[in-house]
Symmetry: C2
């Protein structure tokens, strides 16, 4: 669909007050496309468009908007309209909304929420951040084992749940203990009078409310499920996590890793790059830059200690950037692979000696190739074999140091329960810089006798 | 489930030849757990375990294995056993398998595949790499608009498809043109004698076979679907992509981005870090290291041109690592945010001036803070205001250069249809290094008159 045409069409319909045509056009637009449309329409027209949507669609569109637009919209909506939205949206989306809104808006939202829903929202809000409990929705199909398939059909019809929550139906005891799962497809092809207990799968993979959301994404990744049941400490079914919410978490965690690995403090909010203010951008970046800048002064200190050597042979300085950059790049390569491997559970801390042994061999190959290329260049350009030897030996040592640190530091971080993503290129580069300059000048004084 | 206990239990059952118990135990293990189990069991026992699995489970387990283990297993299997696997697995998994196996194994697989499946596999193999066509499965429910709900139920029962492919049923004309979609939940709650055309949703989001797989992941991300229909140039439904395959692609593309951004040539295969050979690791890393090392020599050249200044004031060299590192980190921060924003479609090339303006303001704030912190340190340590000024002005310039390049280069790459991930930290660091050293020595000679 060409969004620009749609927006032009909508603007014209609004201008000409063609309400009936407008309503029809809005029906054919997918809810997920509304955020981009709303961004391109005058603010005073948005509320008009919003009021022409059906109740269900209005709630769907509301959930798709970013938090700024949600807040603006709430301020325009009447209490009845807020009530409609709150009755239609998923409980987990409601919790998301409440967590992000300023307190006066939260108050208005909660007073317009049904008492029973308010209770569920409050329960969900009590789970610690980033746990399975905060991700789950409390809307699911709970069958009993002695229901027939026909009973189950009637039960599902009565429940009127959203479609994603119906694909997997769960079977529980009278005290809500999880017994099994029935896929809706199995329900559909089973005889109408067979019992749920005979068609259910008792081999259910489930997750505890307090489990970290990273574990949730790992389970979705491993078992190709559409939904995952969430149980409390007593194995009572309290909610389900659907795959679309799991994908959002995967995206969010990946972005966080990207940011940490680039020395950016990750944001709690879900704002996009363009929506984040200049001041916030600066704040998120400055801390690591300061830490790394001060650490880099150490490399300067090492260089200062070799001022005599530099005065004797200023050419030595010309190779420092090349040695530093190569060390940084080698460390970045290894740490990225190890951090991703740890995040995807493809590497565990038990593999530390395997990875060290692998990186050692890789660094010997890579270091040697680089050293040879570099020696040829130095000999051709400066006709000085001794300097070529100094730089080449330094390069091989630097590559080895960088690759070993790039492998050991993220593993250690995981071991002591820190996020391995901290031990990425920026920090490793700074450490490798100091060490490689130290190696460089020591080898220089040794071989060149300066 | 505690895998170590399961493995111990299995090993004991095998040793004592308790076949019946072994078969029962295997039934209770989830297919996704088999790869980890098989890794810890002697190779000659694996085939015994595999033969005790039911036909369906054997196929499921087979798909979960990595390519090395699949190849090993195929060499142990009889032709009949291969035939069973090939009849049970999804068409898209079969295509994956064939693409990864050596030609002698492919031959054995294809001779043991039903003629009709072989035709489908060959068709799928013909789509260009990384397109929607290669991701889709050709197993889906295609209803006709004048079927009743009851007809649809019978049709679904007869088709015997896997559950993920049944959640969304598609409605097509007699010449296979896509008309609409019916969610299985709507089918379930509809009256048995109502017509499909009355309950179907004609507002179907679909994708073309030749569309890039990145577009597939974007659509799954935007519209929370469980499956996406794939149509050919004539709008004929030819397959569907299910969400579990889309997640695999998301993970794969993310890893590729991480690798590219760390100067690693991404691998075609799907091997994990530990499974990749030392030689391959070295090969994937050496090309960029060589390119970057040679480029870094340019920075050395700049330094060489200022040998006179260095001889006069060797202290100048001590600040080079700090300036280079800060420049690298600033470039890395910005380029990471821009590359991710582009990948997630949150930023488009149209936003280039908005992002430049944002980064300009961020870099002034960040640069000033860093310059102040640094001036204090230099004045305290060296009691030299002039050097403090030189380094601070250089720092502010470096931060601005780094942040602007980190923003412009990935955008340009996208504009000329290259992958923005190439324009990440390693390359930008190298460019910023040269420029910042150039700025540094020019400001030094200007202010310090050396």
């Amino acid at each position: 669909m060409d969004l620009e045409k749609v927006i032009e069409n909508l603007t014209n319909l609004i201008k000409n007050k063609q309400i009936k045509e407008l309503r029809e056009t809005l029906k054919s637009i997918n809810s997920a496309d509304f955020p981009s449309i709303i961004e391109n329409i005058d603010e005073d027209k948005i509320i008009m468009i919003y009021r022409l949507l059906s109740k269900e669609k209005a709630a769907e569109v509301f959930v798709e908007l970013n938090h700024d637009d949600q807040e603006k919209l709430i301020n325009y909506l009447t209490d009845t309209e807020i009530k409609n939205v709150m009755n239609e949206i998923y409980m987990d989306d409601a919790v998301d909304l409440i967590e992000e809104m300023p307190s006066n808006v939260v108050k208005r939202i909660l007073t317009n929420t049904k008492a029973e829903n308010r209770k569920i929202i409050n329960e969900l809000l009590k789970y610690p951040d980033d746990t399975a409990g905060t991700l789950m929705t409390t809307e699911f199909i709970d069958l009993k084992e002695n229901m027939t398939v026909d009973d189950a059909f009637k039960f599902i019809k009565r429940k009127e749940l959203k479609k994603e929550t119906v694909y997997n139906c769960y079977v529980v005891t009278s005290d809500r203990k999880l017994l099994g799962v029935v896929d809706i497809k199995d329900l559909l092809i089973a005889d109408r009078d067979s019992f749920i207990k005979d068609i259910m799968d008792t081999n259910v993979v489930k997750i505890n409310t307090l489990e970290d959301q990273e574990e949730v994404t790992r389970m979705f990744d491993k078992y190709n499920y559409i939904a995952l049941p969430v149980v409390d400490q007593e194995n009572r079914l309290v909610g389900i996590i659907t795959i679309d919410d799991a994908i959002d978490v995967i995206q969010e965690e990946t972005l966080e890793d990207f940011e940490k690995m680039a020395a950016i403090t990750p944001d709690d909010g879900e704002e996009t790059y363009l929506k984040t203010s200049v001041f916030k951008h600066a704040k998120n970046r400055i801390i690591w830059l300061l830490i790394l800048m001060i650490s880099a002064a150490l490399t300067g200190q090492v260089i200062e200690n070799f001022e005599a050597a530099i005065s004797t042979l200023p050419l030595l300085v010309a190779f420092i950037p090349m040695i530093m950059d190569t060390g940084g790049n080698c460390g970045s390569q290894t740490s990225t692979l190890i951090i991703r491997g740890l995040a995807m559970n493809e590497i565990t801390t038990k593999d530390i000696f395997k990875t060290i042994w692998k990186e050692l061999r890789v660094s010997i190959i890579v270091g040697t190739v680089l050293a040879i290329a570099n020696s040829i260049r130095i000999i051709l350009q400066y006709h000085d074999v001794k300097i070529a030897i100094v730089v080449s030996v330094t390069l091989i040592c630097t590559v080895m140091i960088a690759k070993l640190l790039g492998c050991i530091l993220p593993m250690l971080a995981r071991k002591i329960k820190c996020d391995p993503a901290i031990m990425a290129a920026p920090l490793i580069t700074t450490i490798v810089d100091t060490l490689s300059v130290l190696v460089y000048f020591n080898i220089s004084t040794l071989i060149l006798h300066i």
